[in-house]
């Protein structure tokens, strides 16, 4: 393991995403999402690492498609892309609808690396939006995750729990549902008549403490992943030559 700063992680990730073929804006957002997750110790790098190969194989020209929308609801086909590539504008669409209508619901179907969406949700929460995101993981047992941001809060509340008493269903669990509200708090509170087992619970205050520690001590990164990101970032650089060296000005 090695220790890096937040800015360093964000900067290298951004260059790596550009190396993969992201546009500048999408690379900015994807890097912010990964670094944000990691600064809260929410395993952003682990998620990135697990999906990096797929990310590199995605067609950069494939765009998420709007399947349905009205004033306060939208359904997006994420085209089996990573949320790093497909979620930012979909979430901006939800934001615009919530601003106009008070509350909006957006469903992004068929998307990958859903954990990482929290980084962009944090950004929208910082712009005064209350947000809840919900998704299911197709594991045994079935687990559900709810993430809530209060407006203007930089840390979420998170609940992860397993459920057993669920009707059989055949829908793939690769979607994510997001609710945004201008004026209403949407933080998750567990309440159910059906049995569930709480697997993880992160409160805002705990996460802020984690973040503060990361800012003081830096962030631990696996050396192999760091080297992998450096290789991708290297793809943004131009080979040096005598001519190019003069492009920085003659040696004094």
């Amino acid at each position: 393991m090695m220790n890096v700063s937040f800015n360093e992680l964000q900067g290298l990730s951004r260059k790596a995403f550009i190396g993969i073929g992201f546009s500048d804006g999408h690379a900015d957002d994807a890097a912010d999402m990964v670094a944000w997750m990691e600064s809260f110790d929410l395993h952003g790098l682990e998620a990135l690492n697990a999906g990096l190969q797929h990310l590199m194989e995605e067609d950069p020209d494939t765009l998420p498609q709007i399947l349905y929308q009205d004033g306060d609801l939208a359904v997006i086909d994420g085209q089996d892309l990573s949320v790093l590539r497909s979620s930012n504008l979909a979430l901006e669409l939800a934001f615009a609808k919530a601003r106009a209508r008070g509350l909006s619901v957006i469903k992004i179907r068929r998307c990958r690396q859903r954990q990482l969406i929290m980084g962009y949700l944090a950004r929208l929460a910082g712009r005064g939006m209350n947000i809840t995101a919900f998704w299911r993981n197709a594991q045994i047992p079935l687990t559900e995750q709810v993430v809530g941001f209060r407006a203007n809060s930089s840390a979420p509340s998170i609940r992860v729990y397993s459920v057993e008493e669920v009707p059989e269903e055949n829908e793939p669990n690769s979607g994510i549902t997001i609710v945004m509200a201008n004026h209403v708090d949407l933080l998750p509170t567990m309440r159910s008549d059906f049995r569930y087992d709480l697997l993880a619970k992160h409160e805002e205050s705990d996460l802020m403490a984690v973040r503060d520690r990361a800012m003081v001590n830096g962030i631990e990164v696996e050396v192999s992943l760091w080297e992998r990101l450096k290789v991708l970032a290297h793809m943004t650089l131009v080979a040096s030559s005598a001519v190019s060296s003069r492009g920085a000005g003659e040696e004094d």
């Binding site: 090695m2 220790n3 890096v4 700063s5 937040f6 800015n7 360093e8 900067g11 546009s23 500048d24 804006g25 999408h26 900015d28 765009l63 998420p64 709007i66 930012n88 504008l89 901006e92 669409l93 934001f95 615009a96 601003r99 106009a100 950004r123 910082g126 712009r127 800012m215 003081v216 001590n217 830096g218 290297h234 943004t236 650089l237 131009v238 080979a239 040096s240 030559s241 001519v243 190019s244 060296s245 492009g247 920085a248 000005g249 003659e250 040696e251 004094d252």
Partner: protein, 583 residues
């Protein structure tokens, strides 16, 4: 009869228009001002009674080894750790691609325990190639001005003072080549300093490290001189110590910062423009006029003494000298009226070169510390370019027409307007310029040029609106996501006057050095000495109070702060410091 009570009108400062202020050549004519970070830092140090002392000075006879300086503020303790090593002349380069330096140093938050010192000694000398400690706020490196260094050591060891004229061309013993902050190579993020009372202002930690290096450079030459001839060696005369600054060599590496931080640049320029507008509003007294005359005369002599190698800068400086004479004559003869400063700057705008205009503005700001100095707390900003997704697209189009008219008027069909492209080299990611169509790498071009991007965006929006006249910004972006970052920038920056530098960075005649000087002037650099249109050497802290003066807790903080445009510690006849020393 009812008596009407008239309230005095609330005057608001009138800021200069962005079209004037954000012109690249004008920005490239800025001088340091009292709002520059080096000046703000010295004021802060004096006001808050910072104490700086040398905790360790373990150098061999040649000046190689380690030194640690303790910096005690009312809020915390820091240490500047300096490593000096022998460097072969062939390795001494100002380029970022260098791998070794005469001196490397860092600023540490808190104490330096033995284990930390071991880690610092292993990594700081490696700079970019090292893995730096998160308690480091800054790392940097510097190379000797070999000629100055050798002459200084030689003279001091023989019991005499070095000729002060030597400092006309390079007013320093060391020249930094990069000063890293904000998380680079593992050091602390700037975000961590937001709540730090000592270093929350931009670049204040970097400036502190450089200021301490200046003290080290003096101590080091004296140390080497003593080891060379213990019986005859003398210390450096205090006037020469004060006249020594720290050099800096800056290349294209600084340029992307100016483009990538538009909100921060807006804060800096806005504060400076506010200061100028506030100064121009003041009704001058005879004392104010005398003070401005004094500052003009000092600046005049400063430029007379300044020697630079670049012929263009030499002629610019010559124009300043000539025009300052005119300003002095104007000030001596014109009757004092309430709007004298407005008259002066109006006349200056019509009659003086950009360099003289901005110099005069910097001097005018000096007169009103009570109004101006509060602005130094407005130099920082939380940077975030946010999208307004629900903005009607037709409104976005109008925003571009209003705020980026300068970009829309550029003819990108003309090859001259597309001459350069910016990229990063594999050599330490150094930013470079290539000729479009003639050099490799255009497919990896950095998107630094805002003008062509704004124009392309405008065209795409116009086309989309023809089909979707009532579209929102987000609908356009869902269809054409590649425009997201530039639209985010346009929407955010539309609320600010001064963030965008109005220049086509692709244009054949664009001078990158103007970008560098813009930032350097806000850092507090003086003596701009261009080595090409992509490299410049400058000096920091020349004339600044010494650490001993700081530690004496100055009673007169105004005098402590009055060190801009320093003059050689001798008269113009070339009297040497040795002669001075005998006085």
């Amino acid at each position: 009869m009812i008596e009407l009570i008239t309230q005095p009108a609330q005057l608001t400062p009138v800021l200069r228009p962005p079209a004037l202020v954000m012109d690249l050549e004008r920005l490239g004519s800025l001088n340091a001002s009292r709002l520059s970070f080096a000046r703000s830092l010295i004021r802060q140090m004096g006001r808050q009674r910072w104490h700086i002392s040398c905790d360790r000075f373990e150098l061999d006879a040649l000046g190689h080894g380690q030194a640690i300086y303790r910096i005690q503020t009312p809020y915390g303790r820091y240490h500047a750790v300096i490593f000096s090593q022998r460097l072969d002349d062939s390795q001494r380069s100002d380029r970022v691609i260098a791998n070794a330096w005469d001196v490397t140093f860092g600023l540490v938050e808190g104490d330096v325990e033995d284990a930390l010192m071991t880690s610092l000694a292993e990594n700081i000398p490696l700079q970019e190639a090292g893995r730096q400690h998160p308690r480091l706020l800054v790392i940097s490196r510097a190379n000797k001005s070999v000629r100055n260094f050798d002459v200084f050591v030689d003279a001091l060891s023989k019991g005499s003072q070095p000729p002060v004229s030597l400092l006309k061309e390079a007013g320093y013993l060391y020249r930094t080549t990069a000063v890293y902050g904000n998380g680079k190579f593992g050091i602390a993020d700037f975000g961590r300093l937001k709540e730090n009372a000592d270093f929350r202002r931009p670049f204040s930690a970097q400036m502190t490290a450089v200021y301490v290096l200046r003290q080290f450079s003096i101590a080091q030459v004296e140390h080497i001189a003593r080891h060379r001839h213990a019986h005859s060696a003398v210390g450096l005369h205090i006037d020469l110590q004060r006249y020594l600054g720290i050099g800096n060599s800056t290349g294209l590496g600084m340029a992307p910062f100016l483009i990538n931080h538009p909100q921060l640049i807006n804060q800096w320029i806005h504060a400076r423009e506010q200061a100028l507008a506030l100064a121009k509003m003041q009704i001058p007294s005879e004392e104010d006029r005398s003070q401005l005359l004094l500052l003009c005369r000092r600046a005049y002599h400063y430029f007379v003494e300044t020697v630079v190698t670049d012929t263009h800068q030499t002629s610019r400086n010559a124009a300043v000298i000539e025009e300052l004479s005119g300003v002095i004559a104007w000030l001596e003869q014109i009757a004092i009226e309430p709007d004298l400063w407005q008259q002066l700057t109006d006349w200056g705008e019509a009659a003086l070169s950009l360099e003289s205009q901005e110099l005069l503005n910097a001097l005018l700001i000096e007169l009103y510390p009570a109004q101006v100095d509060v602005l130094e707390d407005a130099m920082g900003v939380d940077e975030k370019l946010d999208l307004t997704p629900d903005m009607p697209l037709v409104q976005l189009k109008q925003v571009i027409e209003t705020h980026l008219d300068w970009a829309l008027s550029e003819d990108f069909d003309d090859p001259v307007s597309c001459h350069w492209f910016w990229y990063r080299s594999v050599e330490k990611e150094e930013p470079r310029l290539g000729v479009r169509g003639a050099e490799d790498g255009v497919e990896k071009e950095l998107s630094l040029a805002i003008a062509p991007r704004a124009q392309r965006t405008y065209r795409a929006i116009s086309d989309y609106l023809e089909e979707h006249p009532r579209a929102l910004t987000i609908e356009f972006l869902m269809a054409q996501p590649k425009f997201m970052d530039i639209i985010r920038r346009i929407q955010t920056m539309a609320a600010t006057p001064y963030g965008e530098i109005r220049a086509n960075l692709w244009h054949r005649d664009m001078k990158p050095i103007h970008l560098l000087r813009t930032k350097l002037s806000f850092l507090g650099a003086n003596r701009f000495d261009p080595r090409s249109d992509r490299w410049v050497r400058v000096t920091f802290f020349q004339g600044a109070p010494l650490i001993d003066e700081l530690n004496e807790e100055p009673a007169d903080l105004s005098a402590f702060d009055d060190w801009s445009f320093p003059l050689m510690p001798s008269d113009s006849s070339g009297e040497s410091a040795a002669q001075l020393a005998t006085k």
